[in-house]
């Protein structure tokens, strides 16, 4: 039985498919025009998947998660799915060493191959060059190359993705659709003012506030940023305040962060999940949002910052994902954290300008989840038709 956790319903995958066809039919879609999109893995705390699939029914797609990709093999042969893969690291969930990881990659690819043989279409969204927590980089590269080869459609958000992945694995251009990351307009609460947000966090109106937001982990560059923060303070005459907020990572990593933060009155660490209504407090309080990541292609934090009208500092490789707001994105060289601080100072100079705010709000409107979702489904349908699926 599936779906209990998400919707309070107990349904088999087959029952969900039948319900999906009925629901699509009720919207006036002909069966020939209706598609069932099953996605894996399902992430519940990150609203990305809900945003991406927001317009599914209007565009003839019923979207639902599959708990395990093997579930699909039990479906009757007349049901053909669009299998949409997101983050691939789950393939290595039980792997204890590189040998086991190698076997897991092969097994995962074989399962996708069987699904393709059964007539299902395969779509992959490339969120990262490598998983944030990649423990077996060689095996993961092999897996990613294999999925790219098997996929019928590859969805990228950053137009530079193909080039950035090229040193590691190929993404065939003929399969690629480019649909950017949606903004979070209408997703996160946005009704409190800057003064309230700063008051709630104990910040003064003239503090220069830099926000590092999102789950805490080694790939986020938090340690590197904190290690050289004194230079930023020197440039800003001690007026910088650093907010770090997000779900805590592994205990050993958090102890490292605690050690770096200890003794710093200019850094506030909020190590907890921030709910959808709490996000605004941090982004409204901030002058600049900083993503000091050591690697990455896209960032929900960048899209969130833009939605709240805040300039954002990102690694250079990620800057391409901000098409349309490049003037508000301040890239740095991810190998040089000093350049991150220079980008922070430059971004601060732009923060608070009404013209910049208006441009970012326009971008957020144009990239609202329903708008991006519509673009995604139109591009997907066209590409699937190209490859006869």
């Amino acid at each position: 039985m599936r779906g209990i956790g998400q919707h309070g319903l107990g349904r088999s995958l087959y029952e969900e498919c039948v319900d999906a066809m009925a629901a699509l039919s009720a919207t006036g879609r002909a069966p020939s025009d209706s598609r069932l999109l099953a996605f894996f893995p399902h992430v519940s705390r990150n609203p990305y998947q809900r945003m991406l699939y927001a317009r599914g029914f209007q565009d003839g797609f019923a979207c639902f998660p599959v708990k395990a990709i093997d579930d699909v093999l039990g479906l009757p042969p007349e049901i053909k799915l669009v299998l949409h893969f997101h983050w691939l690291h789950k393939a290595f969930h039980d792997a204890a060493d590189t040998k086991a990881a190698g076997r897991a990659a092969t097994h995962f690819l074989n399962r996708i191959r069987r699904q393709k043989d059964a007539g299902h279409a395969v779509v992959w969204t490339v969120h990262n060059i490598m998983s944030h927590s990649a423990v077996f980089p060689d095996e993961e590269t092999k897996l990613r190359a294999g999925v790219a080869e098997l996929a019928d459609v590859i969805h990228i958000m950053n137009p530079d993705t193909v080039d950035l992945c090229a040193p590691h694995y190929d993404l065939p251009s003929r399969k690629v659709i480019t649909v950017p990351h949606p903004s979070y307009q209408g997703v996160y609460g946005d009704y409190i003012c800057r003064a309230q947000a700063r008051f709630d966090l104990g910040l003064q109106s003239d503090d220069q506030v830099f926000l590092l937001f999102g789950s805490l982990g080694p790939h986020k560059g938090t340690r590197q940023f904190l290690a050289v923060i004194d230079r930023l303070q020197e440039q800003l005459q001690g007026r910088a305040r650093i907010l770090i907020a997000g779900t805590p990572g592994k205990p050993s990593f958090m102890e490292e962060i605690m050690a770096l933060v200890a003794g710093r009155a200019d850094v506030q660490l909020f190590q907890a999940h921030v709910d959808d209504q709490g996000v605004q407090t941090f982004f409204r309080a901030a002058d600049v949002v900083v993503c000091p990541y050591t690697r990455g292609l896209n960032s929900g934090v960048m899209a969130t910052a833009a939605g709240f009208g805040r300039p954002v500092v990102v690694p250079r490789m990620m800057a391409g994902a901000g098409q349309g707001i490049s003037g508000h994105i301040f890239p740095f060289d991810q190998m040089d954290m000093m350049s991150c601080h220079e980008a922070c100072v430059a971004a601060l100079g732009q923060s608070g300008g009404t013209e910049a705010q208006a441009q970012l709000e326009t971008w957020a409107e144009e990239h609202a989840p329903r708008a991006i979702s519509g673009r995604f489904f139109r591009s997907l349908r066209a590409k699937l038709a190209d490859c006869g699926k």
Binding site: D206, G238, A265
Partner: protein
Amino acid sequence: MTTLAGYRRLTKRDFALSKMAAFGLVSRQKVLLARRPVMRRFALVGRRAVHFDVCFLTDAQMVARDAVHVQVTYRPAFSARTLKMEEHQLFADPHPAQARRQRVWLCPPRGARFADVAFARRTRGQKVALDGVLRLAAGQAKPSLADIDDVLVTHDLTAMSLLLADAEKAGNRAAAQQLLARMQRLSHSHEIFTNLASLREASDLERFGVTASLPGLEALEGDEDVVFDYAAWVSPPASDGLPFLKQVRAEALALHGLLRGTGAATLHIAAGDRLLARMLAAALLRTAAPTMKIRLDWHGFRKAPQQCGPWLRYDSGASFLATNGGKAVESALAADAL
């Protein structure tokens, strides 16, 4: 993480003994603490500092800061009035193998004959256990700043508090910074954060001057000939518990209100108590009221010793004005000064 399987729950008998302040009187205790405290009375000999060592463990994955509340009440006689009360928030370690003893110091005030020590769990949703023999150790000297390196590698928050007081007295900022950094790792106490903020702000003031501002403040439209005699701190004494810069900010806002109320556009910073602090408040106010005229006896300020909080102390005002920050403050106040 540990399941704390070898630790027993507190029983009715424990709480009955606690009522007589006799919890843990005879043997080593390995108990799961409750939110209801258990208490033990210790007899004291004179004013000599004594201590006991205990371990605390948690079933959480990370060190649980402020997991244990320890309250120490000093009394002059059995069942007599309270002479002094101290509170400590101690942490709990997640792994028994890494659990370190935490030292609780008892520094009796004059006249104290007994100390009642109560232990309680502060956290919800996680178990916290006490492991140790509740016995006072005598004969060891109270730690001093000379022991700082040894103290910094311990989990001994009470010793760190004692050293911090010494560092404050000596105006030793580097030692205070080290101690507060370590204390912040072990505790989420707001007092530690406030102290750290004050220390940092004092250091920033010396380097950069008053860099804060007061945005949104109404302009001063008083008469230049009306002089406000700024002879004493005008904020309530409660502001002393705030971080340094917040004290100055509160004072500047209060001062602004007084200037508007009296229609004054000239501020005479008179000699007297907290002169340096008042000068800084005036410098901050000036960022929002650049037309305000300032009168100050610079000569008197230079000659006299000056102090503002524990971390800004000078043999003479001239020493402060010789710092980069002091120069910036002087230049901000002296512009158009009368």
